[in-house]
Amino acid sequence: MENTNNIEKTDKKEEASTHKIGIYLWIWTLLFVLSFFSYMVDWYQFQGMLRWSLILFFMFLKAGLIMAFFMHLFWERYALVNVLLWPMTAIACFIFLMAAEFQYTLFSRLFYFVVGGGA
C-alpha cells in the first residue's frame, strides 16, 4: 500500500521538479548577448585595462550562467556546490604564482639577453 503511494509521489515530484522552459530561454539569450558583447570588445579594439577587465567580466558572467543554470548548480545543494568550487583555490594559487613567475622569467631574459633590456 505504502509502496504505491510512494510511486505516485515520486512521479509527481519529478513532474514538478523540472524548471520552466522560460528560464532556459532567458539564459540562452543572455549568453548570446554576452558573447556578442565580448566580441564587440575586440571589434572596437579596446585596449589596456578596459579590455582586460571587460574580457574577464564577460567571461566570468558567461561561465557563471552556464554553471548555475545550464548545469543546474544554482539548484544543487550546497554540499555539492562547495565540493566543486573550493578546489579552485588551488588553481587560483597556481595562476597567481605562475603570473609572478612569468614576470620574473621575462625580466631575467630581457635583463641578461637583450642589449639595453635591463633599463
Binding site: 523540472t18 539564459i27 574580457i55 574577464l56 561561465a63 543546474h72 545543494r77 554540499a79 597556481f94 612569468f102
Partner: protein, 236 residues
C-alpha cells in the same frame, strides 16, 4: 535537479544544509544520482587539466620576449572582401552556445519523459557539435595553409602555434567525444531504451533519463571551457 525528498531526513537549505548533509549517513550529496556525482567529479578533474593547459599558456606567452601574434588579425576572416576580425571564432561560439541551449532543454524534456522532444533536441545538439568540429577543422587548415605550425609560425613567437594547436586540439577532442555520445544517446532515446528498461551494451545495467542530464553536464562543460579559451586565446 531540484530539491529531493528523503524519508526521515530534513533537508535544510544553505550552509546549514551542507553541514547536516555532510554529517548524515549514506550519501553526502542528497538526491544526486551516482552517475551525476561521478560526472561532476570527473569534470572537476578535467577542469584541472584545462587549467593546467591555460596556466602553461599564460606562463609561455608571458615569458617570451618575442612578440606574440595579434589574434585579432591572425584569426580574421574575409567576408564580402573585408577582413572581419575573429569572424569564424564568433560563429563557432554562436554554434556552441546554440547547442548548449538545445542540450539544456533536452535535459528538461528528458526529465519530463518527453521522448520525442528530448530526442530531437539531442540530435540538434549533436549536429551543432558536429558543425563546431567542422568549423574548427576549417580554421586549422586555414592556419596551416598560412604557414602556422606547432613548432613555428610567420607571425611571431613560436609558442603561439604550439599552444593554439594543443589547447584547441584538446578542446576539439572533447567536443568530438561529446558528439559521438550525443549521437549514441539520440539513438537510445528515440529507440525508447529508458522506457523499455533495456540494459546497457557494456555495463549490462538498466539506464535512466538521468543519463541525459549527465551527458548534458559534459556538454555544458565543453561550452564552459570554450568560454575561457575564447577569452584567453582569441580576445586577450
Amino acid at each position: 535537479m531540484s530539491e529531493p525528498k528523503i524519508d526521515g531526513f530534513e533537508l535544510k537549505p544553505g550552509f546549514k544544509g551542507m553541514a547536516s548533509d555532510t554529517a548524515s549517513d549514506q550519501t553526502m550529496f542528497k538526491g544526486v544520482h551516482w552517475g551525476k556525482a561521478m560526472m561532476w567529479i570527473f569534470l572537476l578533474s578535467d577542469t584541472f587539466v584545462f587549467s593546467c593547459f591555460l596556466i602553461s599558456y599564460m606562463k609561455g606567452r608571458g615569458s617570451t620576449p618575442v612578440e606574440w601574434p595579434n589574434p585579432s588579425e591572425v584569426f580574421a576572416l574575409e567576408a564580402f572582401g573585408v577582413p572581419v576580425p575573429l569572424l569564424l571564432i564568433a560563429l563557432m561560439t554562436f554554434v556552441l552556445i546554440t547547442s548548449s541551449g538545445t542540450m539544456a532543454i533536452a535535459v528538461k524534456y528528458g526529465y519530463e519523459k518527453n521522448r520525442k522532444m528530448c530526442g530531437w533536441l539531442l540530435l540538434a545538439t549533436a549536429l551543432g557539435g558536429l558543425t563546431f568540429v567542422g568549423m574548427q577543422a576549417y580554421e586549422w587548415s586555414k592556419l596551416i595553409h598560412e604557414g602556422v605550425r606547432p613548432w613555428a609560425n610567420p607571425f611571431g613567437a613560436a609558442q603561439f602555434g604550439s599552444f593554439f594547436f594543443m589547447i584547441t586540439g584538446f578542446h576539439g577532442f572533447h567536443v568530438s567525444i561529446g558528439v559521438i555520445f550525443l549521437f549514441i544517446y539520440t539513438y537510445k532515446v528515440f529507440a525508447g531504451h529508458y522506457e523499455k528498461g533495456k540494459k546497457g551494451w557494456f555495463t549490462k545495467l538498466k539506464g535512466d533519463y538521468v543519463e541525459i542530464e549527465i551527458l548534458g553536464l559534459y556538454w555544458h562543460f565543453v561550452d564552459l571551457v570554450w568560454v575561457f579559451i575564447f577569452a584567453f586565446f582569441y580576445l586577450w
